[in-house]
Amino acid sequence: MNRFLADARLVAAKDLRIEARSRVVLNQVAPFALLVLVLFGFALDADQRTLRAFAPGLFWVAVLLCALLAVQRSVSVEQADGALTGLRLSGMSPAALFVGKAAAVFVQLVVLEVLLTAGIIVLYGSEIEQPLLLVATGVLAAVAVACTGTLYGALASGLGVRETLLPILLLPVLAPVLIGATRAFDDALGNAAVDGWAWLGLLAVFAVVATAGGALAHGALVEE
């Protein structure tokens, strides 16, 4: 178990260090996320009541679009010069590799969620009524998206057409996360009379299944 955790931590730290150096998330994905929020504003007319009402859905669509970029980046880092072969050769558990890669994507998604939360408050005038529900939704949805994205990233890279295929594979699978997180945010932002905690339960189940399923299936995907 110690070896497993040490390997996962090593991979996550490596991926985060690479992101810190390349600043792809900070300089490209984060501005993209904010741009998406602004463009939604243009598309829906700049009426703050309308934007406030749609803010949860727009927030999570923006998160999913950014997640695609983060996952593609996570995959390409290992593909660039045969690093994935090196990781396989290391004898590292594929589950540890999966957890490490997913953890790095998770951290990046949380950073983007914080930025986007500030974005909907400033641009759409949203107000947070249930901070705990908001944070719990953000964390569980990020776990679900990071784990599912990492698994499907490995699957798509094996098919050799990852750039175009990944969104088609991943987005339909993440539809329950989009629905559950949007409903929970509706409650947390006081937009609708729904039970956000019940939707949080759906997210928790999805996150557990994605983590366990990903850890089990990742080995078959990275092995030739």
Partner: protein, 219 residues
């Protein structure tokens, strides 16, 4: 140490090795040669546990590589230098060497001295330690990749075209490195097209052709 009996390996659906019989003793250095497509790289990947044999048997360092867990187990004890360097562009030379050493199972963080020592053995200047890999030349990348192997001290060295992309000084360094590995009790298998250069490293030359052993000077 390494024993293959009628080993068959596929690349996709195509047989890359069609029945290889080979035995390599501990501490031995073996040179692999043969034309492109003869199966040299596939043989090295098979011995590294990266490929599963389709049929026949492959035993490396006491591990029967027909099973998945055994293939994963042998990987930590083997060092494979392939065609790609396996380096991360945005990490520095030292960070790459340390990462690959840690991930390969070295318990403690390799000391700076050990990393510097490995790089010096490969003829790399200390000043390169903190340079990101994307600023290195192709030859420097190749040497850094070799340094990552040196730090790990594998029991079995599998070197696929180790001289490729290196200048004359770099090639000499690689030859010295192979000699040192053998002197330290390691077993080395080198695939190369540069027969004249590598022949001085060992009297044993195995020639592959059509996915099988065509000639073995030891046989």
């Amino acid at each position: 140490m390494v024993e293959l009996n009628a080993a068959v390996a596929l690349l996709g659906r195509f047989p890359a090795l069609t029945g290889v019989d080979l035995r390599i003793e501990p501490g031995e250095t073996v040179l692999l040669q043969g034309p492109n497509g003869a199966g040299k790289t596939t043989l090295l990947r098979l011995c590294a546990g990266l490929l599963a044999p389709e049929s026949g048997s492959v035993t490396v360092l006491g591990h029967d590589l027909t099973t998945g867990p055994e293939r994963r187990a042998v990987r930590r004890r083997v060092g494979l230098l392939g065609h790609s360097t396996g380096l991360y562009e945005d990490l520095t030379v030292a960070e790459n060497v340390r990462f690959w050493a840690r991930v390969a199972g070295l318990d403690a963080e390799p000391s700076v001295e050990r990393v510097v020592g490995a790089l010096q053995r490969l003829g790399l200047d200390d000043g390169l330690l903190d340079l990101p890999v994307h600023r290195l030349s192709a030859g420097q990348r190749r040497r850094t990749s070799l340094a990552a192997l040196v730090v790990r001290r594998p029991e079995l060295w599998l070197l696929d075209e180790p001289h490729a992309g290196l200048d004359q000084a770099g090639r000499n360094v690689v030859d010295t490195l192979i000699g040192d590995a053998v002197a330290a009790g390691g077993t080395v298998v080198v695939s190369s097209h540069e027969l004249e250069r590598v022949r001085s490293l060992s009297p044993r030359v195995v020639t592959l052709a059509g996915g099988t052993v065509h000639r073995d000077t030891n046989a």
